[in-house]
Amino acid sequence: MDDLIGEFLTETNESLAQLDTELVRLEQEPNNHEVLSSIFRLMHTIKGTCGFLGLPRLEAVAHAGENILGKFRDGELAVTADAVTLILRCIDAIRDLLGALEATGHEPDGDDSSLIAALNQMANGEAAQAQPSPSTEVPNVAETGPVFADDGFPVAAELLAEVEAALAQGEAKPVVAPPPPPAPSVPNPAPQPRSSTEESRDPASAAATIRVQVGVIENLMTLISELVLTRNQLMQTQRVQGTSEFKVPLQRLSHITSDLQEGVTKMRMQPIGNAWNKLPRIVRDLSVDSGKKIELVTKGADTELDRQVLEMIKDPLTHMVRNAADHGIEMPAQRRQSGKNESGTITLEAYHEGGHIVIRISDDGKGLDLPRIREKILAKGLASESELAAMSEQQVLHFIFRPGFSTAEQVTAVSGRGVGMDVVRTNIERIGGTIELSSVTGLGTTFLIKIPLTLAIVSALIVEVCGERFALPQIHVMELVRAGGRSSSRIEKVKEAAVLRLRDSLLPLVSLRDLLQLEKVSANADQFVVVTQVGAQSFGLIVDRVYDAEEIVVKPVAPILRGTSYYAGNTILGDGSVIMILDANGIASTISCGDLNDQRDTSNAVKDRADTKAAFLLFSAKKRERKAVPLELVARIEEIEVPSIEDIGGRRVVQYRDRLMPLVPFSNDYSWPERGRLPVIVFSDGARSMGLVVEHIIDVVDDRMSVELKAGLNGLIGSAIIAGTAVDIIDVGYFLRQAYDDWFSGGKAAEQSTVERQALLVDDSAFFRNLVAPLLRAAQLRVTMAADGAEALRLLEAGEHFDLIVSDIEMPQVDGLALASEVKRDPRFQDTPMIALSSHVSEADKAAGRAAGFLHYISKADQANLAANLNVAVGESIHQLDNSRRAL
């Protein structure tokens, strides 16, 4: 009988979750007969099964609930909020009983008479003809039953069949279910619909899914992980020994293993909707309690993710939705005052994005209270006033993730449970995820959570220190810097604290050797700094060597090793060796006690870089002539094996990340070598990449620069003095066009290029003007430059005509937003499309930009896609301009 109860518990818990959701829906659409029938059926099934299993308390409660539902269905009772609340209470009571049943194996003692009385009162009090007792009610239900019986009572029927089968085999127990003694004398309704439902059960849907114990799948997953490791080991051996005999079967084994792994991973996948199916109920209860009107909109509930991950995000999600309802959404009156719809909306959205799941939780409430957060920071002494003044809004907002930071003015039943955003962040980071937020006062708050699809396999960088190897998950690795030796970067000390000058910021360093108390084996001239980012905090880890990135299977460490906070797990590498996986969060939390660089925002560094200094990749192209390209534009640097280069119709291409990537030599008279490896600079706009073949990669330098423009030189923007020597700055656009004739025609600019259009480029940074101008020229635009908003306005006033304005946001005096407002106010320029270029790209910044009149908002920091984004924006802008002119 135990199995039966277990099955019953699983089924019923699922039904209850569904009931919660459906009831909330019913409240919104009281006349939806379909929903009502479905609710009635679920409750009826629960009641029937309880009766059958001899669970009198459960049955009595379910029966009383079903009574009201029956009246709803028959139209005898109106669906009111009070009635729904009562039924929800009834469901809660059932849930509690189930919990006790699960824990102890039998129904707990107790009395539900007050709840049942309330339910009956509701059923009778408001019904036109009060029924004297529930017992007469039920035959009534049963009579109307056949209408619904076609839809089936699948659970009851299935259980019945199973029980009968079990009983037929087993000992002679009474074949008829024991009648529940203390319950209202109800004829057990389950057997009645049985014959009809068994026939109407859809055999296809029954066969399409099977229930499997979670443990079985977990075990299978472990075995697959072992298989993957063994496969990797075999492949490694094969590579080392180079025997060809095993090559083909090994490859086949490898493919099958991969497929198998994928299959099992898929098996563990569950729709994210499972994690938020309780939320409608929670939001509903909250809105009833608080008197707010809240609508919960969910999108992408069928997005699938690993069930382990699902379990981990369930609570954080609930907490955040609760927060949004409790603190975010205003009271109806307040919303009316601020000109918003009376009912607030909380939107939950999930979608896949490049191996990650992105979950967006947004509300259209009042937004986070920035002044209040600032006050709180000061009150708690987390930052000084001057530090606070220097912080961006984003940095201030991030403080809400600090432990013990709650801005709720009053502790309601909802907040003040001791669970704050810090717990949310910790939970999300524990599964290798990240969380970001943006908030606009009066418009609402948005949280963006990014979590890996599965916890089992991650990409990690293998590093070595003192002869020991460690794995560091890639999600935290921002960049690698070689320090000391021949490199231009070196590690400096301020008292004992090691720091590195990284572009314009000072990066605090942590020596992995000191951290793990390892013994130095040999002096190493070269060291590497792994620039690591955890939340808003970044630091460098000093290591001796850096190996490749590897896909690793994360295994938890043995219980006796869990005392150390620096490890996230351990794994077996392809060569069979065991290594520890470092936990960047753990390391970050230890160093932040030392009051290092806490809360250093990288966007600051980006901004500084854009305004004053710029990073360049130095390389030589031919005859050791030095060239440079802005690092912003470089996607990555690769070495390509010459034999792997193919010749297709006179063009050289190479297979790169499953696509063909055209290779363009720096000069046309380049002679391709026969063998060896070629350094290649890869430029990319997402799907498409091109490789520029160069002679040597020299270094990355950052320097204040002034480019002297030279026109008419193919492939060069001009020249500049970088690191003391004159170098040519290359025009990336020129090479892109060599690789793809249509690189810049993603927009419409190229097609309609009969008339040369005028663009105004406004940026106070000479570097960016010189970077962007060639890109605009490549899109067939004639470019005029202005150093700030004031100059731009003067040009416009002077009667210069422009078809397009591209402007920076942060500029002295007249900034981009002010410029846009001015331009849009003037009827002459109203239709002139404007594109913003900025290093501040939070949703709030974008919204402000759009409000000021910018059509597009492009990130300066998004190096890889700058050219492509700009191109699309220009194309669309021109298109729109043409349309509006045509309309005149």
Binding site: L229, L516, A558, I560, G563, T564, Y567, S577, V578
Partner: protein, 158 residues
Amino acid sequence: MQTATSLKVRASSPTDSLSLVTFSVTDQTFGIPVTEVQDVLILEAIANVPLGPKDVRGLINLRGRIVTVIDVRARLGLPPRTAAGGRAMGVTVESEGEFYTLLVDAVGDVVQHDSARREANPATLDPLWRDIADGIFTTNDTLLVVLNVARLLAIRTR
């Protein structure tokens, strides 16, 4: 990779006798009930766990499974092994679903003893040992200390 010497032993269990896998650490002989032993192997590549408990020697890859190596010498408060000690042997045991390999000096035979003849721990025994030992069997020339695996693995983390 570890070389398993496929010394997989099964208990032939007459009710009143106890089969023990014996091993030595320094010059002391110990025994563990054969039913608790998973594997006996020669330990080769042991990966370090920096900042791990001092009794944990490291981790090994036992046929694709990561197993924690417990340094029995450290656990028993004995001096560390010298390099001349020869190849290190491991006795793998299971506890609560996790595998642990006990790093010992040498592994001996499987011996049978009459349960009734087990002597209690002497009152003068080092408290550290007394906590881990489950009695002593006497043979002609040696004393065999029976170890309690669960208590041996109850290691305080740093």
